[in-house]
């Protein structure tokens, strides 16, 4: 990834900045799909982040809810009102607003999980690669075992254990357990990639030289190895974000995800499911569509990023 020609030179952190000028950006500009996906993602992010400002109603303010408004269809169907553009649910909450708040929860949990995954995975990968020997073997063994179990199972188990350990947990704790559960399903890929890069870097002369001088291992890992592995980690992250969002949505749909007071898109879909047979399809349709839109855009972006950064395809 580093642009340096000298393989023994210390790769600088501006390598990260380096590849945003040039090939990658050019590839982005020339791919309409990537640009569309990025635009959609951006819109979703903004709406989610600034939900209080952007959303027309506040679905959590019980004072503004009226049962009279419940189960109204989207505005363009007879019986609907322009005030509630996408319709309302069983309690009179505006779906559009609930979507934005829900998207925010989904995105926040997804991002937090990925970040935690990265921290765990990169640390373990660095350790395994740098220390080698038994540590390496041990970490890799754990990776192998974890990879053979599907992620949803791991997340469910941790969620379940968390609930058992803290039966009357406050919401904040529930969130922590959830983020932990999801992040523990995804760290393995990072660990492997980072371990691979670390092994490569470890044998380079500048690292050996630094060790001879007496620079501590951690310092070497942090300053020299880390910048080099950020590229693949970034690519992995884009794949994992969509996966984390889906996992959270699944857990919430199953009723073991986010607490009921802070519904994510998954919770909204779950709630709306009950109304499907009585004809109020919009309560579950809009959250589903939003979820799919977000994951699709993130996946497309990730696909494009992978192709753009792949030296073999250039």
């Amino acid at each position: 990834m580093a642009v340096d020609a000298n393989p023994n030179a210390t790769p600088s952190a501006s390598a990260l900045r380096g590849f945003f000028d040039g090939d990658v950006w050019h590839s982005f500009r020339s791919s309409p799909v990537a640009m569309l996906a990025a635009a959609v993602t951006l819109v979703c992010f903004v709406c989610a982040l600034f939900a209080e400002v952007v959303a027309p109603h506040n679905p959590f303010d019980l004072a503004t809810l009226e049962l009279m408004d419940s189960l109204k269809p989207p505005a363009w169907i007879s019986g609907g009102e322009p005030k509630f553009l996408l319709g309302t649910d069983g309690q009179g909450r505006d779906i559009l607003s609930a979507l934005m708040y829900g998207a925010r929860i989904s995105l926040l949990v997804g991002l937090a999980s990925v970040l935690l995954s990265i921290v765990i995975g990169v640390s373990l990968g660095l350790l395994a690669g740098f220390l080698g020997g038994r540590t390496d073997a041990f970490v890799m063994r754990i990776c192998d075992v974890m990879l053979s179990f599907p992620s949803i199972l791991v997340a469910l188990m941790i969620s379940g254990v968390g609930r058992s350990l803290f039966p009357n947990a406050p919401d904040a704790l529930a969130f922590v357990v959830l983020v932990l559960a999801i992040s523990l399903t995804g760290w393995v890929q990072y660990a492997r990639t980072v371990r691979g890069s670390t092994l490569v870097e470890r044998n380079k002369e500048y690292v050996q030289a630094a060790r001879v001088i007496g620079v501590g291992s951690f310092r070497i890992m942090r300053r020299h190895v880390l910048p080099n592995v950020l590229g693949p980690v970034l690519v992995l992250a884009t794949i994992q974000i969509a996966s984390a969002i889906i996992t959270e949505a699944t857990l919430s749909f199953l009723g073991v995800g986010v607490p009921v007071t802070s519904p994510s898109l998954g919770t909204l879909i779950r709630n709306g499911n009950d109304y499907l047979f009585s004809g109020e399809w919009w309560i579950t349709a809009w959250p589903s569509l939003t979820l799919v839109l977000i994951t699709l855009s993130v996946n497309l972006l990730g696909d494009w990023l992978r192709d753009a950064l792949n030296p073999r395809l250039r």
């Binding site: 075992v145 599907p150 469910l156 609930r163 058992s164 969509a242 699944t250 499907l276 979820l291 699709l296």
Partner: protein
């Protein structure tokens, strides 16, 4: 080769023991093991008697050994939520999940492989591109969203298929099967298709990628240079070489099908192990969770072992029969 098998068996045992250990920790320390074993309605005398019996004052390894022995026999105590023996609950529910997973697996393979081959052979044509775009959807759509959409289209709007439960089942000797009745089969369709969706796209992408790789090899070129028909080249040579790595990965997917069934069972209220597990998680029903964990691990380990052996059977290079001469 014998050495290989023995080594894999040893690994399997280690994995099972670790899993049993985790399950044991759950059983003993999360919640009350006595309640786990007797249920919540046990009397105080029963509890004290059991405490002595269990030897909860015994050293840790002894307790673990006892748990492990029980586990091997399928004894996991009483479900906290349902008050029945965990083992009978699982036995009752297992056929439903297994049937669902197997049918979904067959759908995924039966459609995934041909579609992948098609996408590889017709690479660059519009139809193939369309297929590959479709796979992007398959990977981005969560399992339950697909289920809900299918329910809405086929059960609510068109009213063609049922969307709830298993329908009529035939009971013979402890195994209940929905495959033998029309009603049972109808009920199976939507859940199986939902469950197979993700695997199908995965298999399709995999087969296509592998086939494209294989078509670039020298032996395919040589096969063409020998004047073999397209049929021989594509389906005799290319396909066989493509399927070898695909089969192993697919085998591993069977395990993940059983796991993903959890979601599908919730959407369709399918009375399988997955639904049981979800309810256990919601209720913090430790015995059921521990049992499920052990059972799933066993299934995975067995599948992994089976796939490794399958590799041996299929790839002649792995059967070491003397030096090359």
């Amino acid at each position: 080769m014998l050495v290989f098998i023995l080594r894999r068996l040893a690994q399997a045992v280690v994995v099972m023991l670790s899993v049993a250990f985790i399950a044991f920790m759950l059983f003993q320390y999360v919640g009350d093991p006595v309640t786990n074993l007797l249920g919540q309605d046990a009397t105080e005398e029963q509890r004290t008697a059991l405490r002595k019996d269990l030897g909860l004052d015994q050293p840790f390894p002894v307790q673990f050994a006892r748990f492990a022995v029980n586990a091997v026999q399928g004894e996991f105590g009483i479900s906290l939520r349902q008050g029945r023996k965990v083992s009978s609950l699982i036995v009752e529910r297992f056929p439903a999940t297994l049937e669902l997973a197997l049918v979904a697996g067959m759908i995924a393979l039966g459609f995934g492989i041909p579609l992948g081959v098609y996408a590889a052979l017709r690479r660059g044509k519009a139809s193939a591109q369309l297929l590959m775009t479709g796979t992007l959807f398959g990977v981005s759509l969560p399992n339950f969203v697909i289920g809900i959409v299918l329910i809405w289209v086929f059960a609510v709007e068109l009213k063609w298929l049922p969307s709830f439960g298993r329908g009529e089942v035939v009971d013979f000797g402890g195994w209940t099967s929905g495959l033998l009745t029309r009603d049972g089969l109808l009920h199976l369709i939507l859940p199986a298709v939902t469950l197979s969706a993700f695997q199908l796209t995965l298999i399709m992408r995999l087969v296509r990628a592998e086939m494209l790789e294989v078509l670039r090899t020298d032996y395919i070129r040589f096969a063409r240079a020998r004047g073999l028909t397209n049929r021989s080249v594509y389906f005799g040579h290319a396909l066989k070489n493509t399927l070898v790595p695909v089969i192993t990965i697919t085998g591993l997917q069977l395990g993940s099908l059983i796991a993903f069934a959890i979601i599908t069972e919730q959407v369709f209220q399918w009375p399988g192990m997955g639904l049981l597990f979800i309810q256990a998680v919601q209720f913090a029903d430790i015995p059921v969770m521990a049992a499920y964990l052990c059972l799933i691990s066993l299934i995975f380990v067995v599948i992994n072992l089976g796939v490794d052996l399958l590799y041996f059977a299929v790839d002649p290079r792995l059967r070491v029969e003397g030096k090359a001469h």
